[in-house]
């Protein structure tokens, strides 16, 4: 792949830097509180889409459980605050820790599985988390949810910059990870696990690690989000929420750096616009996902990348893709 050019920036790739630069001035252009709220939610999904893309797009582990880890991050901070009055400043990092450790566990469990089995395990995991949380009334108050305070009386614009900072942090982490030696190991897992193992890549370790990192990021997203909407509820962790995250990453462009960012903004803003005309927004997006994987598997950003690439040659086949072609 054009790895060298893609990872040319020191801290961040040029495309993401440009997107963040535009995002940083958005609150100046968008004055209505309602739309500022929409942008904050877009950033929340952006964090999760980046985290899922690291796991699915770059490491090849197709989980469907990002929402479950967001739920864990949200309830860790929510429960500690509701019952013990713990400050979000402590609760959110603890939520990241809980989600990250649980992610390590799920990663360890899925080490020997491939393809659809990882997805199945993650779906089962998501249901376990959400059933346990919505049925443990004495701790979580079930579907009623827990009221939690906001983050130090921030304004909408304040929230926007907190979420943006978190998204930039997550994206820089992903970028630095993928650029490092470990990043090559992780991408080798996706391309051909067997070949990677035969070349001495510690499959167990890197798979577990990438699960942990991705889950911790989702936990961060959930922890921040719960103090934005000020209600911890099981709704944060449904399979439909996971579906939305997957949709954003796929439509924006899986296995690209800028794709999930573009996807999150595009889908979130478009869904508000569709809501205005009374359409089921997920109906349109699900169709978009199907059309995207069928005809534009690189998503929006992948399409742009293909256009930019000069001279125009067909995308280089990966080893795994070649194996798929040769197999029976």
């Amino acid at each position: 792949m054009n790895t060298r050019r893609k990872f040319s920036g020191r801290f961040l790739d040029p495309a993401s830097t440009a997107i963040f630069a535009v995002a940083a001035v958005l609150p100046l252009l968008v004055q209505q509180p309602y739309w500022q709220g929409v942008l904050v939610v877009a950033l929340y999904y952006g964090i999760m889409a980046v985290a899922w893309n690291l796991l699915a797009g770059f490491a090849g582990q197709f989980t469907l459980s990002p929402a479950a880890f967001s739920l864990l991050g949200a309830y860790t901070s929510g429960v500690l605050n509701f019952h013990y009055g713990l400050s979000p400043a402590v609760g959110i990092p603890l939520g990241v820790l809980v989600a990250g450790l649980t992610g390590l566990l799920l990663g360890r469990i899925s080490v020997r599985m491939r393809g659809p089995y990882v997805s199945l395990t993650s779906v089962a995991f998501l249901h376990i988390v959400s059933i346990v949380i919505s049925n443990s009334y004495s701790i979580t108050r079930g579907d009623l949810g827990l009221q939690v305070p906001d983050l130090f009386g921030l304004s909408r614009v304040g929230y926007f910059y907190v979420f943006l900072a978190a998204l930039v942090l997550v994206q820089v982490l992903v970028y630095q990870l993928l650029r490092s030696r470990a990043g090559l190991f992780i991408q080798a897992l996706r391309d051909d696990e067997l070949a990677a193992a035969s070349r001495g890549v510690d499959v167990t370790r890197w798979k577990t690690v990438v699960f942990g990192i991705s889950s911790a990021m989702c936990g961060l997203a959930g922890g921040l989000y719960v103090h934005f909407i000020r209600l911890a509820s099981p709704e944060i962790g449904t399979i439909l929420q996971s579906g939305l995250v997957v949709t954003m990453a796929v439509v924006g462009g899986m296995a690209t750096l800028a794709g999930p960012l573009i996807g999150a903004f595009f889908i979130q803003v478009a869904s508000e616009a569709l809501r205005a005309i009374g359409m089921q927004h997920m109906l349109v997006f699900a169709l978009l996902v199907i059309l995207s994987v069928r005809f534009f598997p690189g998503g929006l950003w992948g399409f742009v990348e293909d256009m930019l690439r000069k001279p125009r040659v067909p995308a280089e086949p990966t080893v795994a893709a070649a194996r798929e072609r040769v197999g029976p």
Binding site: G115, V250, R294, A315
Partner: protein
Amino acid sequence: MFNLELFINGIMTGAFYAVIAIGLTLIFGILKLVNFAHGEYYMVGAYAYTLFAAATGLSPWLGLPVAVAAGAAIALVMERLLMRPLYQGYTNWRMMKDEYAIIVTFGVSLFLMNLATQVIGPEAYQGPELLQRSRIFVGPILLGGHRLVSFAVAAGVLLLVLLFIHYTPQGQQIQAVAQNRFGASLAGINTARVSQWVFAMSGGLAALAGGLLSPMYLAHPMVGMLPATKSFVIVVLGGMGSVAGSLVGGLIMGVLEAFGAVYISYQYQDVFGFILLILVLMLRPWGLFGERAREL
């Protein structure tokens, strides 16, 4: 203590689980992919059965073939438009087949759920009962009339499916393609047509279960989610691709749930199934009945 009533109830629920799960395992058998849209075939069946009776006022018995046809039709369209590329000239350098299959079936699932919400609405409808008599004694056990009749239908269909797969040429072709698609095509089997058959059967069976269960579990856009996740558990338990495995797995699941809900915990009963799923995938990934020589 052995409770016969619970056992019978478990077996009856299990038969429906088996009807749903066999379709999932058949698709896995021939294409080696997990169909995340399977629950939506169930949903389509539940709606078709319920709305047919409500719209025409005819006997609910006529709603059953309508439900089967609707489920089979949806599955056939999906096979033709989205699944066929998987085995006829898949040329996608960006995504592996597995990845494509997971995302596209998950996308279809989201699409159909939201289509139902948009077109029919989020409210739930109750399906009509096949038999109006409310209670029938079978030996010492009291059963609802509809429950008994629909169980008989489900059991009959299960028997037919098993006979079909083992004794008809078409069924044997399905087995051949499941064993080796390339080899089967060398032997003159039209593998594309076999795939169509399997998708139609899978959709039809799940839709039939959706119709039969709609008096109890209703018809609404999300109704397929729970049966689908349960059939994932069953199919993994029985061994991916094994028809007999999913039959036995379905019955085991039904009985375990019936006892678990009473003796262990009603609130957390669904959790046990999912923990079982993860444990089986970890420790015995080929399932209870599947063949061992398989790469996970």
